[in-house]
Symmetry: C2
Subunit: 218 residues, 2 copies
DNA sequence: GCGACTTTGTTCCTGCGTTCACAAGCGGTT
DNA sequence: AACCGCTTGTGAACGCAGGAACAAAGTCGC
């Protein structure tokens, strides 16, 4: 049953996804072998940390030689579950939603959008990447028909919570939220938050702090 | 000179941005007072952690009462540097770039895009949010004219590094990269990486791990 | 066949982030 | 004016992630 996989830290999982991307690029370029140092610099991490990350999936390199690109790629892909294609639904086909629906990076990583939804009647019926935008009323139907497990929210903030409620009611267990609000959901539902403006604000703060020591004010 | 601000942890800065957003919403809703518990649940964090975050900017609450919404909002805004409007340039006006350029959340947080750039001649001249897309040749000119300090990369991965080089050469010190590649830049340049597909992959892994214990394979 | 070099896998350690728990302080009430 | 309840702010402990150094192992050269 549960084999030699106690648990992989979340931070490691995020980096494994990066390694997988780099390895895929190397394999397409014809490379058959990599060292941890080279792979680490391509991924932007520390070589020792990379080896520690890889150690979570058991020994998969050859000492004195390095890692076989194709083997390691398949190994990581299997652990991350990229092999099985995952059905996702996307709610909110605005600028960001359209960008997400058309982002090629998802398709090549085992994710396929099986339903694009929007509440605005004007958007319903539009074709995005060859797929029609559906009305929210069809949500449950599509989720059950396609066995989708992941929902992506790209709506305005004020409707995100109600969309989240509908997604959980439809049976989805994983939700990725791009709306700038904290969502409340049942404990068995994983909610991950991505706030684009927060990243920009952290960057601005670091720049301001390094650029000049400003006084905190009276 | 350096007043009572030794340094604020990066994780705290990211959360301060979230608190600022929540507080702005509360102020618009007419609220004048909040407790740490309420603010924490609205932001999706632990109350004690919130208070510790706030302690980095000195005492700013009243014991037994809570925090004054407007005062705390202004305090955080000043620390994060939201008061001064920051000029940003955006390179790569594809689906994602268009979404970023039109995202209202940036403007209300002190960020304004002063230049939209794309290498494709077909895109140059298009109006995005009332602003024309410019050719890459005008990059240095716009950066120096507007004193922009932040660059956002939303290009395909294969040109991201060269765009990064041009941005640093133009004098930008902070770069936010949405392209799925690790960028190399001089040490004095802050580079932050946002990979949308990584978030989705972590979510899928967590769901797979919890949903069923899958064997690691032979 | 043996030695030395290269590279992985692991272990230790340091530092940070998070959480819990308590003391201090302020407002309201009697 | 004094007491009581509520909330903040801070101190300490726990757990985790990151980095560096070391040992194991396999290959190449002689």
């Amino acid at each position: 049953m549960s084999s030699s996989r106690p648990r992989i830290p979340e931070a490691t999982v995020a980096r494994l996804a990066v390694y997988l991307r780099v390895l895929t690029g190397l394999a397409d370029g014809g490379r058959s072998n990599v060292s941890s140092g080279e792979l680490a610099s391509a991924a932007g991490v520390n070589p020792a940390g990379l080896r520690k990350d890889l150690s979570h999936l058991g020994p998969c390199g050859v000492r004195g030689v390095g890692y076989e690109v194709a083997t390691l790629r398949d190994r990581i892909a299997r652990v991350l579950g990229v092999e099985r294609s995952r059905a996702c639904v996307l709610v909110g086909i605005g600028n960001l939603g359209t960008a997400l629906a058309g982002y090629a990076g998802f398709g090549s990583r085992g994710f396929r959008f099986v339903g694009l939804f929007d509440a605005a009647p004007a958007r319903v019926g539009q074709l995005i990447g060859g797929q029609p935008v559906r009305p929210m009323a069809e949500l449950d139907e599509v989720v059950t028909a396609t066995a989708a497990t992941i929902g992506v929210i790209a709506t305005p903030a004020d409707v995100a919570q109600s969309v989240c409620d509908r997604l959980t009611a439809a049976g989805l267990r994983s939700i990725l939220n791009f709306a700038p609000v904290a969502l409340s959901a049942p404990a068995e539902v994983d909610v991950r938050q991505v706030d684009l403006s927060v990243e920009l604000q952290v960057l601005a703060f670091l720049g301001q702090q390094r650029g000049a020591t400003v006084e905190v004010g009276a």
